[in-house]
């Protein structure tokens, strides 16, 4: 296992370097830079552009240097915990992001927990009670969840909460706590608001997971070893938990790699609709305004989450089921 961990970690390093290069090149691809967007904005508002000031800013932000020099400065800065400077906010990226990163983490992990906590028992019930009324009803709900866009569900919840309870469920905390230091009251306020984005973002994931778990488990339950176990008198619950359920979990574990970044990047539109102070809307704005260090740092963060997620799922799969897969082979 130690050898596997060492090999796997070594693969992550060139992967992240390649991603950082691709991210930087893609951000540089659109014509112009942040300052040209800024000049266009000023001109469209009929304001005068001070050429000397623009030249000064271009030199100060390092935009006059070749792209590869800008990339190296950004890369070595990131290694030292300096993610660059946000042109639009006129602050270091780490300060601009601030609490948003932790709030995004909170929303993401609560959503993952919610998804698993709901999907797991329902998926198992649907598979073990195939074609029962319960299975049909839950499958119907699952399809409904899959078919409903997250932003639409967010809009419906906003309307219903406002119409029936006279409250706004937008945001992640009450207005008086925005920009304030963390306190117990602020934490409680976040918990109070958290359920709406968690339900909205988690619904489609839950529905998809129920369908997959049901299908995987049904496949396993029809295998010969389950029939043999049943014939030998193994208790149904023990037989279910010890073998088929364990085997049907493999796709879930393999999916962790996609789950981590998906929950953050996939929630951008919901975050806009629900006015959530998470990273999604900020990333969108940074990409629109070509705020390259802010956008680049966000994209690197999402990539890092993907790489870490894939690493976790690979290690868990290697621990749970270290067997030769189809198409594989050994080398001596």
């Amino acid at each position: 296992m130690l050898k596997y961990l060492a090999h796997r970690l070594l693969i992550m390093i060139p992967t992240l370097l390649a991603i950082s290069l691709i991210v930087f090149v893609i951000i540089q691809l659109p014509p112009g830079d942040y300052l040209t967007s800024y000049i266009n904005e000023l001109q469209s508002q009929g304001e005068a552009v001070d050429e000397a000031k623009i030249a000064f800013l271009r030199e100060q932000y390092g935009l006059d240097k070749p792209w590869w020099q800008q990339y190296l400065v950004w890369l070595f800065g990131m290694l030292q915990g300096d993610f660059g400077f946000s042109f639009e906010h006129n602050q270091p990226v780490s300060e601009v992001v601030g609490d948003r990163l932790w709030l995004s983490f909170l929303v993401s992990f609560t959503t993952i927990l919610f998804t698993w906590a709901v999907a797991f028992p329902i998926g198992v019930y649907s598979a073990t009670h195939q074609y029962s009324w319960g299975d049909y009803s839950l499958s119907f709900l699952g399809f409904l969840g899959l078919a409903t866009p997250n932003f639409l569900l967010a809009l419906v919840l906003l309307y219903l909460a406002n119409r029936w309870f006279g409250t706004s469920v937008g945001g992640l905390m009450d207005d008086q706590f925005i920009g304030q230091p963390w306190s117990w009251a602020k934490f409680l306020s976040v918990l109070e608001h958290l359920w709406v984005p968690v339900v909205v973002i988690g619904t489609s994931g839950t529905a998809g997971m129920i369908r997959r778990l049901r299908a995987n488990l049904l496949d396993e339950l029809q295998r010969q070893y389950v029939v043999t176990g049943r014939a030998k008198g193994l208790k149904p619950r023990k037989l279910l938990i010890k073998y088929p359920l364990r085997m049907s979990l493999n796709p879930f574990i393999a999916d962790i790699g996609n789950l981590l970044p998906q929950v953050i990047s996939g929630a951008v539109i919901v975050s806009v609709v629900l006015s959530l102070p998470t990273t999604g809307p900020m990333l969108l704005r940074a990409l629109q305004s070509q705020d390259m260090y802010l956008a680049g740092s966000f994209l690197m963060f999402l990539s890092l989450l993907t790489v870490i997620g894939v690493f976790i799922s690979d290690v868990l799969l290697a621990i749970l089921d270290p067997r030769i897969r189809l198409g594989g082979g050994t080398t001596r």
């Binding site: 130690l2 693969i11 270290p322 897969r325």
Partner: protein, 167 residues
């Protein structure tokens, strides 16, 4: 019979360990102050230190197999007698998506010791054959993963036919 790792087979692992130590160690030295990224790098660096030590131990060890048991001779001496054999597992690891270019690990468990042997060792299949025979004589039940890996290593067992269709 005695088996040992040749320098050629272990050389690539030494290179990887060196690369891991360099890639994580240099940024730790360059970082101006302790930050979350430094902690992550220190953890990974320590893992590579442990990996390097394990490689050195593996390189200095000789695997001995005889009628009565299996022994690792070297800095970490261990012996497992076949009559005391408690468990046997054969694992397969690959870092590639298609599962190719991986390696196997045989884990033999005794009452007081556990011996891990990797497929990079010359004569690995011979050792697996002897160990599986001993496990069958003891009546040990092998896991479905082990049976599947044995099957693909072309090591015949009595249990592999009995457990077809298992997970």
């Amino acid at each position: 019979m005695k088996y040992r790792h040749s320098i050629r087979t272990i050389f690539q692992d030494y290179l990887r360990a060196g690369a891991g130590l360099a890639v994580t160690g240099v940024p730790i030295l360059l970082l101006p102050s302790m930050k979350p990224i430094s902690l992550a790098l220190i953890v990974i660096f320590l893992l590579f230190v442990v990996y390097t030590i394990s490689l050195l131990l593996k390189h200095a060890s000789v695997i001995e197999i005889h009628g009565t048991g299996l022994a690792v001779c070297g800095p970490m001496h261990r012996t497992i007698l076949w009559r005391d054999l408690e468990g046997l597992r054969l694992k397969y690891f690959s870092t590639r998506r298609d599962g190719a270019h991986g390696w196997m690990q045989l884990i033999v468990k005794g009452p007081n010791a556990k011996i891990r042997i990797e497929s990079t060792l010359n004569g690995f299949t011979d050792i697996v054959n002897v160990a599986v025979n001993a496990a069958e004589k003891k009546g040990l039940i092998l896991s479905s993963t082990t049976l599947r890996n044995l099957e693909l290593l072309e090591v015949k067992t009595d249990m592999s036919t009995a457990c077809s269709g298992s997970p």
